[in-house]
């Protein structure tokens, strides 16, 4: 049965955010790029003009042309097709490891907020330890130990992001805990878990969504860096960072091997940053005024 609401009809907070966001051209452009690239990644096997593994010795190092849009690499493989297929690895590594670290951060953050006291102290000190290593260094060390590969890289990239999410959530739990509506929920005997899941978490979502959006961009960048220095994803699997690394040896003669993978990374990260900026402005209108 739909609930009756006597108050004058007002947009939900999320509808308001969506409305403000849709007026932000930069953010919408970012969103459009992300959607377009995701679609391209999903449809990659269908739309790529060549098989990404097909070698063609006549076209070794071919310059960009109508036949090979972005040229061909050292084995004559079509760079455009490889970039298209490579977007699957790059995008999914960025998205999955950000989601993984955020999920872990929410779980730990809720536990910390739920119990407080000693648990809070111990867990926060443990997180301090993780944060005492620069993020990229931690990712390098972990993926060095685990070895290269898709899942290992996701794991390596996500661990460093956990403390930030926990801090974010913990901060908003602390600021919400003393508000009247939480007190009211406690008075009507809501369980702590219910308060956490249905009353606190939804109200902490705004900063989390912004941090996830920005985080995906940064993680894609970090994943490409890892692959570039020889960790992360390794050839022959097409991945943007790995393609860059492979092109490095011949960069002075055939710069197109490096230019296009780098442009791809930049455009994706730029798109996530543009959307993230827009989301932050839309969710925090007082900064915008």
């Amino acid at each position: 049965m739909p609930k009756k609401d006597a108050r004058p009809k007002k947009d939900s907070p999320f509808a308001q955010v969506a409305r403000r966001l849709s007026k932000n051209n930069v953010a919408m452009a970012g969103l459009a790029i992300i959607l377009l690239l995701s679609l391209a990644a999903i449809l990659a096997p269908i739309i790529m003009p060549y098989d990404y593994t097909a070698m063609d010795m006549r076209n070794m190092y071919a310059k960009p042309s109508l036949e090979h849009l972005f040229g061909a690499d050292d084995l004559g493989r079509d760079i455009f097709s490889r970039l298209l297929y490579g977007s699957r690895a790059s995008l999914s590594m960025g998205i999955l490891s950000t989601l993984l670290s955020t999920a872990a951060g929410i779980a730990i953050g809720s536990v910390v907020g739920y119990y407080g006291g000693t648990v809070d102290n111990v867990i926060m000190r443990l997180l301090d330890i993780i944060q005492a290593i620069p993020g990229m260094l931690l990712a390098i060390a972990i993926s060095a130990a685990l070895g290269s590969g898709f899942l290992n890289t996701i794991l390596a990239l996500s661990i460093g992001g956990v403390p930030m999410t926990v801090r974010l959530l913990r901060g908003s739990i602390m600021s919400l805990r003393n508000l009247e509506y939480i007190e009211a929920a406690e008075k009507i005997n809501c369980s702590k878990l219910r308060i956490m899941l249905f009353h606190i978490l939804p109200n902490s979502l705004a900063p989390l969504i912004v941090s996830v959006t920005m985080g995906i961009g940064n993680t894609i960048l970090a994943a490409a860096s890892l692959s570039y220095i020889g960790l992360g994803i390794q050839p022959p699997t097409p991945e943007w960072g790995a393609m860059l690394s492979a092109g490095k040896a011949v960069i002075s003669k055939y710069p197109h091997l490096c230019i296009f993978p780098g442009l791809c990374i930049m455009i994706v990260v730029l798109a996530f940053n543009m959307l993230g900026d827009g989301l932050r402005d839309a969710m925090d209108p007082k900064l915008k005024s």
Binding site: I129, P134, A141, A145, M266, N273
Partner: protein, 319 residues
């Protein structure tokens, strides 16, 4: 304040212990055998087993861990490289200055270029300067540093022949690595400075200062900037972490023989003592920088200072 610094310095110790245990454990569970890596492909199983015994790798996990911790924290010895057979600490120290020069120069660039850009953007809100700064900043946080470095090599070294492609030497060798490594930091700094300045500029006391007829300069540097500083300083601290991590990647691009390259080659040969030692040493450097950031907070913000000086006044803010 002195007590606070001592406390924070002592806190580095358990943090390093935690890092050592964490990285050691990850290295232990991982696949790949250092003994096999040292001996190469032709080694027989017997040789590998002998090597493992020699390196103490056949001991149970807890024994190996405790031995390592005892060696590092009680004897202050980071161990001996499996591969080079030289003490890890010597290897790190002889390479340290390359990494530090790179990271510290980048940090200086970040502060000296990023902050003014952010202030300029905030004071010229929505104007041409703001647009320009923010486009540069957005590009800065989005461009992969190693790619930017490669593109600079193509342009400035290969095409124009102005700068050396890789290696170390005079100041000209540091120009491209520093630009590549600091671009993201400069951009982050500019973005943070802009948004915290904007937040402050809308405060009532700025309007009051305006109404008093103070000059823009005075308002900016006496009233707005000091109050906007805390988040700006935080970004400086985080930036240092970014520079240290980024240095590893940029060293790889320009073949700078710093700690990053030392660690990368160690990773490939499964030379654990070097990897562990490198992470620990860079972790200590980073922790010291973060301590400095905390001390600077206290100097900038009287509220934080009051808390450390033991006055109960600070209690409200900390709650």
């Amino acid at each position: 304040m002195g007590l606070f610094i001592v406390k924070r310095l002592l806190w580095i110790f358990p943090v390093m212990l935690g890092i050592a245990i964490l990285i050691f454990t990850i290295m232990y569970i991982c696949p790949g055998d250092p003994a096999a890596a040292i001996l190469g492909i032709g080694a027989t199983q017997i040789q590998i087993d002998q090597k493992r015994a020699e390196l103490g790798l056949n001991q149970p996990y807890i024994v190996q861990l405790l031995q390592y911790l005892k060696q590092v924290f009680l004897e202050l010895d980071l161990g001996t490289s499996y591969f080079y057979r030289t003490p890890v600490i010597d290897g790190l120290m002889s390479r340290m200055h390359y990494t530090l020069i790179l990271a510290l120069t980048c940090m200086a660039l970040q502060i000296l270029i990023g902050t003014p850009l952010g202030i300029m953007a905030a004071t010229h809100r929505n104007g041409l300067a703001d647009r320009f700064c923010m486009i540069v900043a957005l590009a800065g946080v989005s461009i992969p540093g190693f790619w930017f470095a490669l593109m600079m090599v193509v342009f400035f070294s290969v095409k124009l022949g102005w700068l050396p492609t890789y290696g170390v030497g005079g100041i000209q060798y540091y120009i491209m690595p520093c630009i590549a490594n600091s671009f993201a930091g400069i951009a982050t700094q500019a973005r943070q400075t802009r948004s915290s300045m904007l937040e402050v500029i809308h405060s009532d006391y700025i309007s009051t200062a305006l109404a008093k007829g103070l000059s823009d300069r005075e308002i900016l540097f006496k009233h707005a900037l000091p109050n906007a500083l805390i988040p700006i300083i935080t970004v400086v601290g985080n930036g240092m972490g970014m520079m240290l991590g980024g240095a590893v990647v940029v060293e790889n691009v320009f073949s700078i023989p710093g700690i990053g390259n030392y660690m990368m080659s160690a990773i490939n040969s499964r030379d654990y003592p070097i990897v562990l030692g490198g992470v620990l040493v860079l972790g200590i450097v980073f922790s010291l920088i973060m301590l400095m950031v905390d001390i600077i907070y206290a100097f900038v913000d009287p509220r934080i200072r009051a808390r450390y000086e033991g006055k109960k006044r600070g209690k409200l803010e900390s709650a």
